[in-house]
Symmetry: C2
Subunit: 301 residues, 2 copies
């Protein structure tokens, strides 16, 4: 998870939190967690965006944290503690640490657009309450806050900041490497950079990211492990066989949002009930369902 | 509030919910509400964006709703019921109706970006639980959902939709009138259109909006009443004297966000404590504080 030896490529698998209008489907959650334990991913992320943290009460989040730590079989667990209010972030931080989380993940969630100063103070405040490492979660699509590299650099000086989860890298390999190098120059060598946005994974890892914070790995850890191995071997392109499997996945992520797609995948694998997202989020349309049906066997093979 | 006779211009004043990390400052809330009652605004909006609804627990929101209805002295009260989850929206809807709200206000709040279909189902579901009118709250800056006019048209056919709160109108008077006319053509005549974004108020009212959903009126109802009177008289421009008072306000709203500015105004008027926003939101910087100090006396005069 926290990577103090740059260039070792790791896979961090982010889990769904299957639920319905009555509550969380704990059995399904444990079933999915068991798959990640069996695959020995490098770390497990719970209550990230894919884990619908924003849609859960503090109480439900504490319960999920406890469940994850009980069933992770020694694999490090990163727990998302983001919330609209600082006081809720602090409460979740305290709880996750007490429960035994290996690392925390914090996004600057917003309703009112946040200023750089407000985001700085948020992380500085949380940092004062930390006993474990914290990953800065940079996800402008969901938080509507765009980090400058300068702000990342300032935050990375805080004592417990151990990783930055970036949303992606530019299309061009040289531009991607330059983007990661620019950020790396501003942060201590002990702080890792993880690429998010699964379609960018290989490009990001090749560009110098240390790990992949992966949505797809929450449901298909094995195929994602292979992708990370390729990157660790210095391969800059997927094998044609893997490319054929994964390009349609990234296209669906782009069209429907990765959360809705992996939720449908989990349902088709009978890991969860058919509807496992919190309303108003809904199952993808019939065209998407058919596309997932065509892809799932290829990812399981 | 709900305006079944287009062209009568109304003022709906949106209130702050002053709070700190321990809870809501109920005394300050009632004090501010009393100002609006004294000014006899046409309606009072509570738990809108200015009321920090997204930052409050369901329990705190129910308490604020109850307080507002106890102290509104017969002035119609519109209550914001937006939340990330449909089930929370339904719970708040039931509570606000039981408490006696005159109208509800619902924004399609998001963490994961919502589809048109998801937003349609959200409003359709809520509509089935309504006994009072509902205002569709279109605020892409905070919700990150952009309504098409076509979707507004579909939603406005739902039995209890009574108003649309639009974020603003184009700069040019003719373009603004065309924009409101385009929307008006798609909705029943009983559905009112209210302009939000205070800087657009006069332009919006002149362009055919029925009412002004106003942030500034929550603290300075009298000056906002005068602006609405001008519009009702068909005046297309502020008097030079009002323009001199209000332009600096809109400039501060633009720079700091209207919430932070009205919170500072309320503090300087001693209506609230100095810090009344939920962290991570913070007081505006010293330059902003000085600018508010210069403006407040002009708005009170």
């Amino acid at each position: 998870m926290t990577n103090h030896q740059p260039r070792v490529k790791e896979l961090s698998a982010f889990m769904l939190t299957p639920m319905n209008e009555s509550g969380v489907d704990e059995k399904a959650f444990i079933r999915m967690l068991q798959r990640l334990v069996d695959a020995r991913v490098d770390s497990i992320g719970v209550l990230g965006s894919t884990g619908s943290y924003g849609y859960l009460t503090l109480q439900a989040r504490k319960r999920i944290t406890k469940l994850a730590l009980e069933h992770a079989d020694g694999i490090p667990v990163m727990v998302g503690v983001g919330a609209l209010r600082t006081r809720d972030v602090l409460e979740l931080t305290e709880d996750a640490q007490k429960a035994g989380a290996s690392e925390l993940l914090l996004a600057p969630v917003s309703y009112q657009k946040l200023t750089d100063d407000e985001v700085w103070h948020l992380y500085d405040t949380v940092n004062r309450h930390l006993a474990v490492p914290l990953c800065v979660y940079d996800n402008p699509v969901t938080t509507h806050f765009s980090f400058s590299d300068e702000l990342h650099g300032r935050l990375a000086q805080l004592s417990h900041i151990a990783s930055i989860k970036i949303p992606g890298v530019p299309d061009d390999a040289a531009a991607a490497a330059a983007r990661v190098a620019r950020l790396r120059a501003l942060i201590p060598p002990t702080v890792s950079i993880g690429v998010s946005g699964d379609a960018f994974a290989l490009r990001g890892l090749n560009a110098g990211c240390d790990l992949w914070y992966s949505v797809l790995a929450g449901v298909f850890p094995a195929v994602c492990r292979r992708l990370v191995s390729l990157a660790a071997q210095g391969e800059s392109r997927l094998t044609p066989e893997m490319d054929a499997r994964l390009q349609p996945v990234w296209a669906l992520f782009q069209r429907y949002g990765s959360l809705r797609v992996v939720a449908e995948m989990a349902a088709q694998l009978a890991l969860t009930q058919q509807d496992s997202l919190p309303l108003p989020l809904r199952r993808i349309d019939s065209e998407g369902v058919a596309a997932v049906k065509a892809i799932v066997p290829l990812l399981t093979a």
